[in-house]
């Protein structure tokens, strides 16, 4: 279980307070007006921003004092998820061993992860030789070999077309179900939330609201969500 315990996050002009719990294995969409702090929330959980107050716990253990790479989570950013000078396989390998050479067994894991995201035989290509969707798949393959309990997505598929984005979200949903990963995804689009997220967290008015059932929330939106949706 991920617990944001009376957290206060400061980002320049605005503060964000969060006191919520997210169940292990939950698929959560984070939705809200732009500038409300959705990405800020994810960056704080990942360790790229400091908390002003409070603490973050995973399964009862405090993680908010750990460096980003030591937290039990993997994150995909809006862009820059791959090193452009390394091949697809090298990029995936960084998820297993960021600082050294792979064993034969680990090399096999890299190849099977590329198979799993439907990129068999693409290991030697560099990101520039891959399409946008294929690049996203390579990043997902790396997430797979990282074996982290928590996956954070900060709109990594925003630059893809609607059909491709839906395809990638389905792939993510399949992968996290297989590995029982908890996952949090920032989104602008209610369709994304309905598509793969059982729960939705609304970030608005400087507050991170407790997760609610996605269907219930959108069928009967509170005033701040209604203002955002324009319905």
């Amino acid at each position: 279980m991920l617990k944001l315990d009376r957290c206060v996050i400061e980002n320049g002009s605005f503060t964000l307070s969060a006191d919520i719990e997210i169940e292990t294995g939950a698929n959560v969409a984070i939705i809200g007006p732009s500038g409300a702090g959705k990405s800020t929330l994810l960056e704080t959980i990942a360790g790229f921003r400091d908390l002003k107050k409070g603490q973050i716990l995973w399964d009862g253990a405090r993680i908010s004092n750990l460096l980003p790479g030591q937290r039990p989570l993997a994150m995909l950013f809006q862009d820059g998820n791959l090193f452009p000078h390394l091949t697809a396989a090298q990029n995936v390998a960084l998820g297993l061993r960021p600082n050294g050479r792979l064993t034969t067994d680990e090399e096999a894991q890299v190849l099977s992860a590329l198979d799993r995201v439907a990129l068999p035989g693409f290991g030697d290509r560099r990101p520039a030789e891959l399409s946008g969707g294929q690049q996203s798949r390579v990043a997902l393959a790396r997430v797979l070999v990282q074996h982290r309990a928590l996956l954070l997505l900060d709109e990594p598929f925003a630059a893809l077309g609607p059909a491709l984005k839906a395809e990638m979200l389905d792939l993510v949903a399949g992968l996290v179900a297989e590995t029982d990963t908890t996952f949090l995804m920032v989104s602008h689009d209610p369709q994304d939330a309905r598509r793969i997220a059982g729960q939705t967290v609304l970030v608005a008015d400087e507050v991170v609201h407790a997760p609610a059932q996605t269907e219930t929330l959108f069928d009967n939106p509170p005033p701040s969500l209604r203002a955002y949706l324009g319905s």
Binding site: G47, L67, Q70, P84, L94, P98
Partner: protein
């Protein structure tokens, strides 16, 4: 977490910065302590100060005054070879001074091409030695730099302004007053300050074209105090004076100037609608190209004749120069890469300051300080070559940092979070991400460093005994002995080595580099 996590440690860079600061400040302290103030400044010292200031002011003014029409012409004309000409404007930065001087002598000298033409009409030959020779050489080196800086400012004027002015029916003069004059007022003080600062520390030009009581720069006076009188106290006193001058000028230049003349995107021609005067523009472009190309062409032509006339000494000196340049480039990178990394990771204050210290000190001042420090321990001539490599690296450091820091910042901003989230170690990040991604900039900086060191004629003149010489010093000695054929051959060899080193390293950095 007390501070934001960084993918890479700033400590090696802080260490490198401390070393640089120790080298420069340590030598300056040695100079200050050794300076003999009892005698005060002699009339000759005041003359050197006056001459230094006069030639620097004249050089800056002439360079900028000529650069404005050339840059204006380049900004608004498109013609085949424009790109090559603009690239050529970057060349004097890495052109060995002694090579250019030989070329200038062959064109403007007493028995040069222009004097020959004058002779046909029964006119006396021009005299290149003295103030006007020094200024001529400085304009040769700095006109291209000034042109690039002014051109850059011209290109930065948004095209919409010209469109709007054309729509309003502004013609040449009105357009100039409305758009270009304000830009020039903003830009020119900085350009003048930069060139003034560069010319203050002129040594090789004054050594070859100046000299005598009426045309001696402070830098040259330091050298003379060393070699003619071996008067360390006076050399140190002059060094202190020089230091005060260069530090003040460097501060002024940094304050007034922006951009660095290395900027890309200069090959874009402005779309303009005011016509202008094509013939006038063509004249300025042709004149500038001839002024830059004729001396170089002359070196190549006379060098080809001299190649078969070179004593073995020249080849030995060339080999020495290659070794010195290689060592200097290595030192430069070992210092500059960690420093750029530290600046990129946000720990910049003192590291950046230490990076620009090199601008405030001149090579001969540092050389004097090192000489004073080394002499009690070991015979300084034994260390002539290592000291030359070290001082060359320190002088190239500010330029290398200007090239490396933006790239390091960009890469850390773009890939830092990913590296952190993967728990990548700092050394792995440096080796697998930073260095591969920065290869083009590293190659460019290394190329500049190697070419500058290869062509440098400065500290080596202080430290070398007759048995040791780098190629530029050897050429100078041959010129002094009136062996002009051999000197010309050596100059061609030096030109090839400098440009070759730059080309090789710059290309090497960009070879197979992915975007």
């Amino acid at each position: 977490m007390a501070e934001r996590a960084q993918p890479i440690s700033a400590w090696p860079g802080i260490g490198a910065a401390a070393l640089v600061a120790a080298l420069i400040l340590g030598t300056l302290a040695a100079v200050a302590l050794r300076a003999e103030t009892s005698g005060g400044f002699s009339p000759a010292d005041w003359a050197a100060l006056r001459f230094t200031l006069t030639q620097a002011i004249l050089s800056a003014l002439f360079s900028v005054a000529l650069a404005v029409p050339v840059a204006r012409a380049l900004a608004r004309r498109r013609f085949p070879g424009r790109r090559a000409l603009i690239a050529l404007l970057g060349a004097p930065f890495i052109l060995p001074v002694i090579v250019a001087i030989l070329g200038l002598l062959q064109v403007f000298g007493r028995s040069g091409w222009i004097s020959d033409v004058l002779g046909v009409f029964g006119l006396p030959p021009i005299r290149i030695y003295g103030l006007h020779g020094v200024v001529l050489a400085h304009v040769f080196f700095n006109l291209p730099l000034a042109t690039r800086l002014v051109l850059q400012a011209w290109q930065e004027i948004p095209a919409e302004r010209f469109r709007l002015a054309a729509q309003l029916g502004c013609n040449g003069m009105a357009m100039f007053r409305l758009i270009e004059l304000p830009m020039l007022k903003r830009t020119l003080p900085g350009v003048i300050a930069v060139i003034f600062a560069i010319c203050l520390t002129s040594f090789a030009v004054a050594l070859t074209l100046g000299g005598g009581p009426r045309a001696t720069t402070i830098e040259l006076a330091i050298y003379q105090a060393f070699t003619y009188d071996f008067d360390l106290g006076r050399a140190a006193l002059l060094s202190a004076l020089q230091l005060a001058l260069t530090a003040a000028a460097a501060l002024a230049a940094l304050r007034f100037s922006r951009g660095d003349g290395f900027g890309t995107g200069l090959d874009r021609a402005l779309q303009r609608w005011d016509g202008g005067a094509p013939a006038l523009d063509a004249f300025w472009i042709a004149a500038a190209a001839a002024f830059l190309l004729l001396p170089l062409a002359s070196v190549v032509i006379s060098g080809l004749a001299g190649v078969f006339d070179m004593p073995a000494l020249v080849f030995r000196a060339a080999l020495t120069s290659v070794f010195v340049a290689a060592a200097s480039t290595l030192i430069l990178l070992v210092l500059a890469l960690p420093m750029a990394t530290a600046v990129a990771s946000g720990r910049h204050g003192l590291v950046e300051l230490s990076g620009i210290l090199g601008l405030a000190a001149s090579p001969l001042v540092i050389g004097t300080g090192l000489f004073i420090l080394i002499r009690p321990v070991v015979n300084p001539t034994m260390l002539a070559l290592p000291v030359t490599a070290l001082v060359n690296a320190a002088m190239a450091l500010p330029f290398a940092l200007r090239i490396l820091v933006p790239a390091a910042k960009d890469i850390t901003a773009r890939h830092g979070r990913l590296a952190l989230s993967l728990n990548m170690g700092k050394w792995t990040y440096f080796r697998r991400v930073l260095v591969p991604r920065m290869r083009p900039q590293i190659g460019f900086a290394a190329g500049l460093g190697a070419a500058l060191s290869m062509g440098d004629l400065g500290v080596i003149a202080l430290f070398a005994d007759p048995q040791i010489a780098t190629l530029p010093l050897q050429i100078y000695r041959l010129m002094g002995a009136y062996q002009m054929q051999a000197a010309a051959g050596g100059a061609l060899l030096l030109l090839l080595l400098s440009m070759g080193a730059f080309w090789l390293l710059d290309r090497g950095g960009r070879w197979h580099a992915e975007a």
